[in-house]
Symmetry: C2
Amino acid sequence: MKKIPKPALERLFLYYRLLLSAHNNGEKIISSVEMGKRLDLDPAQIRKDLTYCGEFGKPRIGYRVEGLMNELQTVLGLGERKQAVLVGVGRLGMAIYSYSGFAKFGLEIIGLFDSDPTKVGLNLGGQTIMNIAQLGEFIRQKRVPLGIITAPAASAQQVADIMVDAGICAIWNFAPVTLKVPENISIRNEDLAIGLATLSWNLINSGCPYIQPTEDELD
Amino acid sequence: MKKIPKPALERLFLYYRLLLSAHNNGEKIISSVEMGKRLDLDPAQIRKDLTYCGEFGKPRIGYRVEGLMNELQTVLGLGERKQAVLVGVGRLGMAIYSYSGFAKFGLEIIGLFDSDPTKVGLNLGGQTIMNIAQLGEFIRQKRVPLGIITAPAASAQQVADIMVDAGICAIWNFAPVTLKVPENISIRNEDLAIGLATLSWNLINSGCPYIQPTEDELD
């Protein structure tokens, strides 16, 4: 399988989601220009990205929606079931666990873990929250490939260590820390504070009338 | 203010957070090599990024932790208060609202909105959830610069339209849709499904022993 750079990979998923929506609307053919309009992307970039997939398009006509959608689903492995453990059953953990939008991309969270004794033993959507002490054995026994970390920053590395030691292959990290893991482990960081920081910079530099200038700036 | 490309901006925030931590640990000087180790980044990249800030380093010695931290805080506007409205008080909205880690970067969510009549009127952390019908007027009256969308995909564009019309300058979008807004509005998309899709591709291509090959692959 040809290696696909991360930005292209992310766009491929956007195309997949767009095609899924188009397919559900009954559309049979879609052009890169139309895709570009809907996603606010350059059609030439879209065509270039789609060379990672098979030939589903005719020049000046467009792509076959269903064929390309299925190919993208295969390339991205979205139809494959991906079992996961989730560690840290706080508000964010619960939000990730109960978000129904991930199940259609194959995510199946089969174990919930926490270190807080007031949470261990509680039932969440039909699953009982387990003690973190059982995490390693659970991953080994069930052969779980994916670990989701929604634990606090202070414990995230410890959790990652247990996961890696037990054979996990990929980690979805929501804790605001840089995790140290072996090179063969795939990590995806969802560091929400970064989003806030970039918005912050944009706001103070955008001349937004709703932002009050500070004394420093009024010179 | 010199324009800073998005990837550099995101890294500047990682440096800020690292320096904050170093400062809290009592560290006075830190080298780009040390920063590189802790963040798993190339020290040359770090030094290049930091040219967007003032001169806080001495070659072969390192950067003054406190000085550089304060400069980054200023450049990123992290000390500035950023008032926001949040629309869509589901699990993710509640998680964002109650996450204490954003307050130290200046985020202040001053209005919660939903269209669900069973949620309107409920008290969440001292704030009463308001009807979405009041959103536009609230933004105008309070001069709110930032809107957070944690509403479902189907209503996200409508919500964005109300916000833009009312004068909002930036949108933090958690809904899995591409929003159409005027060019001068800053948008940050947090599309969590993209993370899942990239992990999915990595897992099926990594030779993970915990992933069962499908019949197609066993040829």
